[in-house]
Amino acid sequence: MTTYIIRRLLLMIPTLLGMTLMLFIIVRMAPGLTTGGGQFSAGIMQSRQAQKQEQEILERRLHLVDKNGHPISLPMQYILWLKSTCEGHLGTSIVYQEPVMTLIEQRLPVTLTINAIAMAVIYLVSIPGGLITALNQGKWIDRSYGFFSLALYSLPVIWLGSTLLGFLANPQYFNWFPSAGLHSTNTGNMTFFQYIADYLYHIVLPIVCSVYGGFAFLSKQIRGSILENLQQDYVRTARAKGLSGTTVLTRHVFRNSLLNLITLTGMSLPGLLSGSVIIEQIFSINGMGRLAYTSTLARDLPVIQDLALVGSVLTLLSYLAVDICYHLADPRVIYD
């Protein structure tokens, strides 16, 4: 197992190198970049001189020019960026004038909390859903659950999100829910429980929008793995030795079917961290997705590069974690 992990980690190096190179080429080959840096600086009142100075600092920071102001070649820029990233220095945002690490530290908890709650809801619905549909395979409840979860999966979030917001958070119709953000303005003089209640009140609509599409896939997977396990020999053995149907189901089939959940959960981890651009944009939530969206629109290169880098490292690591967990949960699975 150790050799396997080491091999996987070693194989991650070419992937990451290729990924960074691809990203670098996409971002740096874009037209009109070197001249565009200064336009995002906050001060409109700045003098020409100050603007020029800022531009120079920016260019040096992006490794476009060296200390003496001479332009650096493109391959060298890539190596310098890679070097500073490997030393642990993520870049500094052009728009926010803050280190990318700080931005991520501000936004990640927001996205993570919402997505964790959403995922819990999805599991709470999908696991019973998968179980019930598997036990009633082919009957009307199976078919209608399958159809409705697929219909929900197909429902575009841009439509449902804007419609919910338009009807339920709008003085024009029903002003039941807040239309933007995660907290009321007067959080300062709230008790802890009021604060939590206020937060929950704010995330109702975003959570609704994040969960409804997730039922179809997860229930289908759970249904499939339960059906597969029901046909295994050990189920027949368990029945033959006189266990009741419920015991066979809960102690044997269900627990074995949960093994598949490891893979599914692991695969959804990166999505948990990166956040949904559309939902965060519709409900004006300052999470990771919105950060990604605004920085791509503003061509905030350091943020784009570092977000993609952090995202892909986390993705690759969670794929590895899935394989290891699978081995730990089911020692029969051996990789070589």
């Binding site: 990203l23 999966y153 197909s154 419609t163 338009g166 009807f167 958070a169 999505g271």
Partner: protein, 413 residues
Amino acid sequence: MTDLTVPPIDQPLLYAPRPYWAWVAARLFRPLLVRICTAYLVILVIIALLVPLIANGQPYTCVIPAAAGHAAVREYPLFEDLSSTDWILLAVAAALAVQGVVQLTSRRLSRPQRLMRRRISFVIIAGITIIAGSLIAALHHNRLDATNYRSLARHGLITHAVFPPVPWGYAEMEPLSKGLINKLPSHRHWLGTDGDGRDELSRLLWGARIAMGVGFVSQIIALALGIIVGALTGYFGGIFDIIGMRLVEMVESIPTFFLILTFVAIYGRHILDIMVIIGVTGWTGYARLLRAEFFRIRNLDYVLAAQGSGMPLWRVLFKHMLPNGVTPVLVSAGFGMAGAVTIEASLSYLGVGVQPPTASWGSMLNSAGNPATVFRWWQALGPGLLIFITVLAFNLIAESLRDAIDPTTMGRR
């Protein structure tokens, strides 16, 4: 000496042996819902191809009445104003129609004759369409005709005008000053107007072209990339596999929507750009699936036989192995098309999709007002429902295809 000759079969077979694809198709289209979905998508494709003839501000034909000095002239404003894209898509529609007729008329022929005829006609029609398309692209000059023919017809300056069923172009605005913006459905505008005074129905129909175009073209690009990478990695294994899978991981490790946003923000928002971008970010799943299938197939006897008979590699790969491994990929492509339609609508909703005034369902949703203050739900209803039904249709067909090729459901129904 024993007689080794096989006794002749004197009884006819109980049922004719069917080729695999006919069997899959028969099972796929058995549920009524799948037939309805297919019909809906076919109609949507026809609308997408022919939309300039359905929703347009110019009349098919009209007559400029005789006046002092010249006789009456018959004009064809709509056809004169078609862009080269419109003409190419009309050529594609004609080609599809002719091929459809060939398919229908050759049904009663024997199988080899039928296949022969269909193949020959396909090659000829595809050739003619490609040549015609490139000629149109090279020679046709787009014209911008901003004449308001409706008002001319009203004032009797043109007569005998025949307008399309929806007599509004996708970018034709009502004058903002006359209070004709954000109108509820009426006789004049069957689904009302949007914030710029443009006809909603016309924009919905034109939006079908964007949605279907993105759905099909992007997934064809993705399928081509995925099939090439998947086939090579799965067949050769070894160093090909290691390199190919690193490529897949590279693309997969960055969140897809973020990657697409970056591409779009940096490289442009032309509709072709968006098709290519969705294609090149969406092929990894197909490559993985096909790789797994090819791993399984490559040691089967018939592949060994094909190799042993000295066939060229591409023939073994794409003629013998691909048809047996491609079905899971096709299921995935169905979901992929649904995904591409959603992605395009989302991009347009966020304001980074196709450029205005091009009609896209996503941008129509966006222009239904800021949901937190002014929300004109009737403007959001049309595009929202169309995205929903289109995506659902693709998903249902894909799901039904998965059931159709799944051997464990064979006994049921």
